[in-house]
Symmetry: D2
Subunit: 338 residues, 4 copies
Amino acid sequence: MDFLSDNAAGVHQAVLAAVAEAAPACASGYDADPWSRRLDETFSDLFARPVRAFAVPSGTAANGLALAACVPPWGGIYAHVHAHVEVDEAGAVPFFTHGASHILVAGAHGKLTPEGLEATAAKRRGDVHQVQPAALTITNATESGTSYGPDEVAALSRWASARGLRVHMDGARFANALVHHGCTPAELSADAGVDILSFGCIKNGGMSAEAILVFSPELAETLPVRRKRAGMMPSKGRFAAAQVLALVESGAWLDNARAANAGAQRLARAARSRLIHPVEANALFLRLHAAERAGLRDAGFAFYDWELDGPDAARFVVRWDQDPQAIDALARALARLP
Amino acid sequence: MDFLSDNAAGVHQAVLAAVAEAAPACASGYDADPWSRRLDETFSDLFARPVRAFAVPSGTAANGLALAACVPPWGGIYAHVHAHVEVDEAGAVPFFTHGASHILVAGAHGKLTPEGLEATAAKRRGDVHQVQPAALTITNATESGTSYGPDEVAALSRWASARGLRVHMDGARFANALVHHGCTPAELSADAGVDILSFGCIKNGGMSAEAILVFSPELAETLPVRRKRAGMMPSKGRFAAAQVLALVESGAWLDNARAANAGAQRLARAARSRLIHPVEANALFLRLHAAERAGLRDAGFAFYDWELDGPDAARFVVRWDQDPQAIDALARALARLP
Amino acid sequence: MDFLSDNAAGVHQAVLAAVAEAAPACASGYDADPWSRRLDETFSDLFARPVRAFAVPSGTAANGLALAACVPPWGGIYAHVHAHVEVDEAGAVPFFTHGASHILVAGAHGKLTPEGLEATAAKRRGDVHQVQPAALTITNATESGTSYGPDEVAALSRWASARGLRVHMDGARFANALVHHGCTPAELSADAGVDILSFGCIKNGGMSAEAILVFSPELAETLPVRRKRAGMMPSKGRFAAAQVLALVESGAWLDNARAANAGAQRLARAARSRLIHPVEANALFLRLHAAERAGLRDAGFAFYDWELDGPDAARFVVRWDQDPQAIDALARALARLP
Amino acid sequence: MDFLSDNAAGVHQAVLAAVAEAAPACASGYDADPWSRRLDETFSDLFARPVRAFAVPSGTAANGLALAACVPPWGGIYAHVHAHVEVDEAGAVPFFTHGASHILVAGAHGKLTPEGLEATAAKRRGDVHQVQPAALTITNATESGTSYGPDEVAALSRWASARGLRVHMDGARFANALVHHGCTPAELSADAGVDILSFGCIKNGGMSAEAILVFSPELAETLPVRRKRAGMMPSKGRFAAAQVLALVESGAWLDNARAANAGAQRLARAARSRLIHPVEANALFLRLHAAERAGLRDAGFAFYDWELDGPDAARFVVRWDQDPQAIDALARALARLP
């Protein structure tokens, strides 16, 4: 009964079938195959505007390349103190950008606000002696299991645009945020001022490909050569493209996110009083004493202690393919806690 | 009848089956799954020594990360003027190494020799005002369809070691070189002084993973964090590892290379007088006038003009899964040329 | 009556004389001239141990190159939130290190403590997914006009060494800290566990050269080539070396620091109740309302508002060659404030 | 009697006087002092067009920063095989550019020609798999003691512009080329299509500053922050600016170059039959057997063997302040050789 991470999940049948279908083909290399050539169109339809789409092998790669398209080597990127790019990517952003720095901003429940950003920005001078702010990155759904709705994203984007900053969204769990808010993909991204989106697939039923989606076309100019020289333009690119297409075109990306979110809500109802953050995606963070955590682990539940939220915090993530019986068992176990 | 490139080939059944087998599993993320954990052992068995193995998503990534493990940012890398790292990787080596440069060396038939290397090295001063030579990279099989045997590799390695240089082998077509020379994997690499090998899978029946194999253990120290920050440590790492394991453990990697090489020999016999380079792997380079090339294309054969070998050169690559009838047809067409 | 910065100061006569003396000479280029060759010896004498010394053209360059010698591109550097490397060097550290990040730590009066460092470190996991801590940087005297004594430096170094971190000191105002504490240069640096020191000259009577001093010899290995490829190994290196030597060998570096510190103390006595930080070098930070600041400026005093210490903060820096009458005038003006 | 290099020369009196004049001043830091603020105007007058000028501490720094302003990290820079940026700067170009590569082109007497460039360019494909050509760098006077006249520069620039490449001139010895051709500074640079110039001072009577001159204003946009983060915006910037201004405004830069060139011509007349390259600046390259070189050294002349021109080549450089008697003595010694 593993609630450690959604990246431990299986691969959706539609993805596997698409890969198998592409396997025996003799196809042009790199991006010249029929699957890769369909990416732009599929995402342009999905977001109801011209979109350039690039398949990449990981979320870290998506974030690194997307931000490199936004900022110069001396750029600064406003980011939440708990942002995945800061906490979990081993310096990938300075690697891909050739040296850009995060400008860290605190905020309750893993979320940035225009006020919090402004308080940080007000302390900066902006002269040539300082890192030059060039982008804002928002994670949606956040690392704390919360999510921004379209109005919140738009407010952040307005703050950023007014300062000449690009807006990047780390959407490793974009689908989870989307189904929580019940809006269209465009409403939660491009319509709300997002320039470029790391579109997550792997945690949500994919296998080994994510996508960078570019809404502001000038940001796409350098991406082909950046991707190539980063070793992320695979010669058999059809296998990456086919996975992404299958997830989106089958609708599985939304079904899977709904399933995972529903599981998280089921657990949230069972542990209402222990919630550290609102549950607005597929993860929940609970206040649990050491003995309680030990008890749950003895009962067969796997999950992480979460020091970022204090010594008594624990994180539970519900996968798209999580066994409903495991969810029920965990819900009951949580409800039984005194 | 596509002879453009072996990266247009299909995926071997064993690879596809392995991926399908891993798909429904709930597995620990990153490299903690059972497949990833088996990589070192499998390659240690294959090379009869301790080997550290890292799966990566492309040959460019393998070369870039492997060379970054060998050289500092101010390092120089001796390479053939036609080396893939120089000609076809869009500056991936300076990207991954943070600025290392190639020191280009000419050599007949795509091959380096100790004499050629020495002639170039003799013109360098070696003081602090110059790029500091730190590695030699050898492509085997070469970009010209030739290959080095164990003695040739050993001679190059001796030259390099005497100057304190690391030896990297770009083995995008290592299997093709191996079966041509009929030696063991170790004889063509670690025994012959190679420190680190880009072990090619994708052109040889794989899907979306290559492997970096480290024979000199100190070179493995920085690779985990380099790979992570380069966005190449996928959360569902089992799919990359499973592909590589399947190809090796099934023996398909050797069968596929033998099939491709045999096809190339079949063609070589048909066009003996037109060969620009000896055929020692799965590619052949032919002297063909423009009219002859046009005729072959009209007859349905696809291949590249190869300007690097002059205005009348053409390259034909035989895939592991090339239709024997297509090979026969091309052989007949070549034999019919005046 | 300019109290904006000590980098507005003049050049000490000894420095100018040394430059003039070197001017007509025909001397070997780069570091082969007699002045450059004397650097190591002079600083080895001064610190009573073997020291490698490298002249560089700015404090930003000294910090960037020194930290690059300490950390890999994926390294993390513990630094105070107000550290010059973070606030005032436009990303020079990620530039010279190829991507290392600051791990920012708060602390009263611009100073780090082992407790503050530990609290930040305790929230980090240290696995391959995170930036890898590799160094601690301490500014002494600090950006807040305070300074660490030998015991404080030693305590920080012990904390760092226990975690395998290198210790760098940004000593742009090392002399000011030194004369404040009345210890030897070694006691405030190498004896206290500092591996490498940016030895400031320019603010203290120099013209256009600082020095990197290396106490841990292995850190000197890469510096010659790093310095050369960063364009900081000037062909007429004698002019940089001669400046540094003159300042040290004449004793002016200590005299100048004493003069500047004494001026700051004079001002501190006049504005005791307004001090934001203890005055332990040549700068003071005062709580002054907007009207008070305007009044001082109307009276001819130039100084910076200092937002980092809040809306009513102002910074005054005393130069080594500050006119005593200007200091007296400012002291009187401050004392007259209600 | 040292003919090793012009970077061993003394400093011109006007430069030293200017530095001394700036020394006692209290001046605003960084580029806000009166000297730094006069740079643009002085060079705009000299080149009869708007020029942005940036002082930097070395020729390597000038070339690195200037080329970084011209090319992206994945850019290619056409350069002569013997170019200083390739042979003598330890990889500074990939350092400052974050990875750009030289595309090396051969050419007689150290000079590039449009034909030579075209022959190299014709072998490149230009797709996303290759380094993307973005600039041409020309050294004038060249590393072989020859120089390009305005028409030659214009022809190279036309070739470059037609391919969308920026044109950089490494003018470490720009003055020597200029006085040889007897044209205006603009005719040899901006009028002839040069976008950005490394304007050499140090070899020509300067002390520790060169200048980057930007003729195409959009290339100046990133230079202030690039220069700052590279540690090359010194706090007492007036000393760098004052040197450059003094050399130019006093006319010494032309007088010095004329003196050095005349010395080289004097030597050339004495050794006409041994010249390897035409003498069009202040260096000459002579064919001399080992015994002849030994004899000259025994007679007190210092010079370099020059392996790049073969085993019997030697380089002699005449400094602006070379003792006329030493020149005469060398001329006589050369003339006496059989």
